[in-house]
């Protein structure tokens, strides 16, 4: 296992996500209340990318609901912007089916976010 620096801490505010690719592996890094979590970025359902969850939508101001995906900081999960599948960020599990996405150890050092692969 090697630690890879992928971003600086201030690049991903609380409740936000960033997509990174480390040696061809795509990871979504999510900031939950100052803690960072890493989960496979390519959704196991139809390969949409988790890092687009908070992307601004066409006429965002007219949208009546949240989307495309949601990040829940209190319960530490997020939904895929594709079709709303929910993933626990600690385990990578979709709670309804037990299907699981890969998760990654993420730590911070000197304002840098590091992912273990």
């Amino acid at each position: 296992m090697t630690k890879h620096t992928v971003a600086s801490v201030d690049e991903i505010p609380e409740g936000e996500v960033m997509g990174v690719e480390v040696d061809g592996i795509e990871i979504a890094i999510v900031n939950i209340g100052g803690e960072f979590y890493g989960i496979q970025n390519v959704c196991l359902h139809r390969r949409q990318r988790l890092h687009t969850a908070t992307q601004e939508r066409i006429n965002e101001e007219d949208c009546i609901t949240e989307g495309p995906g949601v990040i829940n900081q209190e319960e530490c999960w997020m939904t895929c912007p594709g079709h709303d599948w929910k993933f626990d960020l600690k385990t990578g599990e979709n709670p309804a089916t037990g299907k699981r996405m890969r998760t990654f150890e993420v730590s911070t050092e000197d304002n840098e976010i590091q992912v273990e692969i």
């Binding site: 090697t2 890879h4 620096t5 992928v6 971003a7 690049e11 960033m18 997509g19 990174v20 690719e21 480390v22 040696d23 061809g24 795509e26 390519v42 959704c43 139809r46 390969r47 949409q48 990318r49 890092h51 687009t52 908070t54 992307q55 601004e56 939508r57 066409i58 006429n59 965002e60 007219d62 949208c63 009546i64 609901t65 949240e66 989307g67 495309p68 995906g69 949601v70 829940n72 999960w77 939904t79 895929c80 912007p81 594709g82 079709h83 709303d84 929910k86």
Partner: protein
Amino acid sequence: MSVRKFEPSENTGIPEEVYDEFIIDTDVHLDLQMLDDLYPYMDDRIVDKLDRPLGDYQFSAIDWLPTWGNEGGGVGVDSNGAAKTGEDILEMMEQIGIDVPLVTPGMNSLPQVNYPRMKEEVCRAYNDYLLEKVTSVHENIRGQAMIPLWDPEATVEELERIGDEDDIAGAYAWFGKYWRLGNPEYDKVYEKLLELDLPLTLHLDVASYPDPSTPNGGAIRTWIEAIGFAPAMHAMMNAVNMIVTGVFDKYPELNVVYQEGGYHWLPFVAYRIDEFYQHTPEDIQLAERMYDQGKKYLDRMPSEYLFDNFYFSTQPVCLPDSNRHYEWLLEIEQAENTMIFATDWPHSTNDPPTWIIDNPAIDEELKDSLFRGNAQEVFRI
């Protein structure tokens, strides 16, 4: 070691190959919330009723929504945006890789509104808005005219008014409560559609959810039942009703497109309708259209109309886990002649074109039919 960071709008999961394909998307919705954008196109008497606090209450009195069914932001109608103009649709086309969108309305609660004149006025206003603000922006943007299918005369009138506009590719309506499409009063609609070379598109709508005042509807408890199965039942029943009352014997060129009504039920309905037709064909002659023409039996086996006169939009695609099973389904469903691609953008159940690219069950020929061939054949494009 290489590290790359993605902008939120970058690497969205749509592969490059999608942008190389010429793709017709047969179900791209405008925003749900655009009733007031239509006021300038409406009769003042209707605007007066709608433009007041809770004036649109009948449009939003909906029995079932996914609000309690998912955590991803509730109703899901604008999970991917809210398009109001042709410029917004152009942005969507670029994002998803669509070349020709056949724009559909977002107002799928219209059939449940109780005032026909109000609903007809909304249809007229929508169609004028569509032509002025949406399809006029780019030659590739085409629209499906919203038709008041609850009233065959009003439908014909609206088709006469705007049906021959070049930017209109189809006539859009809904499964509804059940439109009695086999009744002869609809013949004038079919004749007009044939004259204009337009298909009848039937889309899932709020009125096709189970009615809670019926024992059937009162028993259901989940969005899964409401969205997943009740509209599909309407789709099946509508298809069978039209076939056995002789609609396609009288109008063999008429095409019906089902949107969000499912299609893995095709083998079930095909085998079953043929079985029952062979067992009990003798009351078909009593259906008005058959009786009035002095016809005793259908010209073909019922399942042949199902595969020849009906088309099915692919979304939601509901892929089986086994690729082998999917190959079988595509073959049994005669996908090369029956299925047309649709995203259902911007709803939360949307399917970008991703699932067709690199799908081992879909060869080049079938991909061609799904992405464009069948849509070109059935819609006036």
